[in-house]
């Protein structure tokens, strides 16, 4: 039996900020879920199951928060499950929800991801004092910076590429009312003058720490036929994993990322992603990851990704816009960041992205990664139902 086509008929996000002191975690997820249901013109009773994701429990110190959130998400008496794949979790969560539709287990599923980073400290959560190990590392930036240097060496990319990405994404964020950072006075010079934290990564080339949630309503063909607004259709979706560290691991362009993208393109019958895909929302927590992922995802040959960035191809009005929403560089509630990528791809093909809309976007890729570049999740959504 063939798979049921999966449609996205509702999207909701909170306004992402540094600290939402006015709401509990329940209140935060509720806002996004309510907004997604309103977009789909559905009620809690229309939802068959809830699939939720967030980053590690240490990031808020609530063990199994999904249990306490059942009331807030209308999940009482329904299946509710949690997905956990570190930073890629928002994407994986959406894909687990999508599979419940594709497998005809449920007709309509609410999927949601969140993080309230203000209640903890991610740098602490990532550097527990493991006995017998030498404490050396200063946060996620220290982990990823050497890989950025390796990319620069491998490709000969000039130093200013990272700043160009940050400058672009922060300007895109000004067109996205939900984005956390709205730096109205941003200039390229300001990015380049910001302090080096983990050379070669500058302060302005890193993501913020945000509180936020994102939700989507996924449904089958019957649900899509009842939807008040045009749905987005899933054309392909995949997840891949690999170990954090192993002999032969390519941190610059991990094999699991290449395999994951290839699987999505096969499902969606994409022969040439650069030609056949209109825009990308990719997980770029440090600006240099834009050219790195452009290569890993097959939008450029190895060593050529930075040239797309440098020549303006990835700008909002470029030929392959990347992170129209402002991306992770402008908004990073970790657990939700992957789902925001997936949801922003949906908004684009539904023509609902507002000021950061890419005109005529028909096929848009959402991408997330997590851990030590070891978990990948991606989906390609389109304005036309597959096979139609």
């Amino acid at each position: 039996m063939s798979k049921e086509p999966v449609a996205v008929v509702g999207v909701g996000q909170t306004k992402h900020v540094a600290a939402r002191r006015d709401v509990s975690i329940a209140g935060l997820v509720r806002e996004a879920a309510r907004a997604a249901l309103d977009d789909a013109e559905l009620t809690w009773a229309d939802v068959d199951a809830v699939v939720i994701g967030k980053a590690p429990d240490f990031f808020e110190g609530v063990m199994m928060p999904e249990l306490y959130l059942a009331d807030a998400l209308g999940a009482v008496g329904k299946p509710m499950l949690r997905v956990h794949t570190a930073g890629s979790v928002g994407g994986s969560t959406a894909l687990v929800a999508a599979n419940l539709i594709a497998g005809r287990v449920h007709g309509t599923v609410l999927t949601l991801a969140f993080e309230k980073q203000s209640e903890s400290n991610a740098m602490w959560g990532l550097s527990l004092p493991i006995p017998f190990q030498q404490p050396l590392l200063a946060g996620a930036g220290g982990f990823f910076a050497p890989h950025v240097r390796a990319y620069m060496r491998r490709t000969g990319a000039p130093d200013h590429i990272g700043s160009l990405v940050a400058y672009k994404d922060r300007r895109n964020a000004l067109k996205n009312p939900c984005a956390h950072l709205h730096e109205h006075d941003i200039t390229l010079e300001k990015v380049q003058a910001s302090p080096m934290l983990w050379d070669p990564i500058r302060y302005s080339e890193t993501c913020p720490s945000s509180d936020g949630a994102c939700a989507m309503v996924l449904t089958d063909r019957a649900g899509a036929a009842r939807a008040p607004r045009p749905p987005a259709w899933m054309l392909g979706g995949a997840m891949r994993s690999e170990p954090t560290l192993f002999a032969g691991k390519d941190f610059v362009s991990p094999q699991a990322g290449k395999d994951c993208a290839a699987d999505v393109y096969r499902q969606a019958q994409i022969a040439d992603p650069r030609r056949d895909i209109d825009a990308v929302e990719m997980y770029v927590p440090f600006s240099w990851y834009e050219p790195m992922w452009l290569e890993n995802l097959g939008f450029a040959d190895e060593g050529e990704g930075w040239k797309l960035t440098e020549s303006g191809v990835t700008e909002l009005d470029g030929d392959l816009p990347v992170n129209m929403s402002g991306g992770v560089l402008s908004t990073n509630p970790i657990g939700a960041s992957g789902m925001i990528r997936f949801a922003e791809a949906v908004l684009q093909v539904r023509g609902q992205a507002g000021e950061h809309q890419v005109e005529g976007a028909r096929r848009v890729l959402g991408h997330a990664y997590g851990g030590g570049s070891q978990f990948f999740s991606m989906w390609l959504v389109g304005s036309e139902r597959p096979g139609s």
């Binding site: 910076a145 491998r154 983990w198």
Partner: protein, 313 residues
């Protein structure tokens, strides 16, 4: 088989909680010796209160004061109170349905022994002398044979309501790095770096983990690597981490020791930080009594060619 190392690992953090309107009222109420519940769509009163109706999922905000007296609905005796529990002498964990509530609240009951506790017994709140807006403002419950106390009909509106609490969390683990890393650490004590070779792909893992993550087979053949190695890549750290006693800037490098199948991580010294480069040849510098090399310094050899280490990046 030599003894495997173990050590305590304590994970501890003062998490904050933004309370939202309902928990804010509930905890502020405790500070004022008022216990609040919330009324659901079907007319029940839930204590402690929740923000969303468990039946309809509607937002619920109708706060109702209940009495500080109630009835034990079930209980379990705690013979040995642990750190952070409400009482430091043996006590009963109880579910108490307060008068006016339809659900029961979990707390501690101060009682001389399990024979003095029974389901259906009447109890009342013993308030803490110092209250700050926390569940611990109820010190515990105590046996009570008087009249049902009447609530004052409080509205749930407070001046100076608390909106945030700090909830320190702590987990105590016993950590063991396992057989392979124990052997690695023992060899480091003799200033030797010993990895393990995968019998299938023949790559040498440093530090070893006891298995090859690619081939999924156990690694047992011990192989000494180094002592010198090559800096494959690095970053210059300019921000001081709270838990690290290292002066900034410093160079955090990936170092492929000669003979190793992947790079390990270390600090580079003995050279100005802005002169460190990919391909730099380095060797470990040991300090008395330390488990790991303090840092790595240049050997003075010519830099390694990129092609010799590019597969180790």
């Amino acid at each position: 088989m030599p003894e495997v190392l173990t050590a305590p690992l304590t994970v501890e953090f003062p998490f904050t909680r933004s309370l939202g309107p309902v928990q804010s009222a509930f905890l502020t109420g405790l500070r004022e010796r008022v216990v609040l519940g919330v009324r659901t769509g079907d007319g029940r009163v839930l204590v402690p209160p929740v923000e969303y109706d468990p039946v309809t999922a509607d937002e619920i905000r109708d706060l109702v004061e209940v009495a500080p007296t109630g009835t034990v609905t079930t209980w379990a005796w705690n013979h040995e109170p642990r750190r952070g529990q409400p009482l430091d002498t043996p006590f009963a964990w109880v579910l108490v349905r307060l008068d006016g509530a339809d659900t029961a609240l979990l707390h501690a009951l101060d009682a001389p022994g399990p024979d003095a506790v029974h389901t259906g017994m009447r109890v009342r709140v013993r308030w803490a002398a110092e209250r700050e807006g926390a569940i611990t403002d109820i010190a515990c419950f105590e046996s009570y044979d008087g009249e049902q106390e009447q609530p004052t009909g409080h509205s749930g509106e407070f001046a100076d309501a608390i909106t945030k609490i700090v909830t320190p969390a702590r987990l105590d683990y016993r950590y063991s790095p396992g057989r392979a890393q124990t052997a690695y650490l023992r060899a480091l004590a003799d200033r030797r770096t010993v990895g393990e070779r995968c019998p299938s792909c023949h790559k040498v893992y440093v530090p070893p983990r006891g298995a090859c993550p690619t081939c999924g087979v156990a690694t047992t053949e011990q192989v000494e690597v180094g002592p010198a190695g090559t800096v494959t890549t690095f970053c210059i750290v300019n921000i001081k981490a709270k838990n690290l006693d290292i002066e900034v800037p410093y160079v955090y490098a990936h170092i492929a020791l000669d003979g190793a199948g992947l790079a390990l991580h270390g600090r580079i010294g003995g050279i100005p930080y802005d002169q460190v480069r990919m391909g730099l040849r380095v060797e470990p510098v040991w300090t008395e009594g330390a488990r790991h090399p303090d840092h790595y310094r240049p050997t003075g050899e010519p830099d390694a060619e990129y092609d010799t280490y590019k597969e180790l990046l």
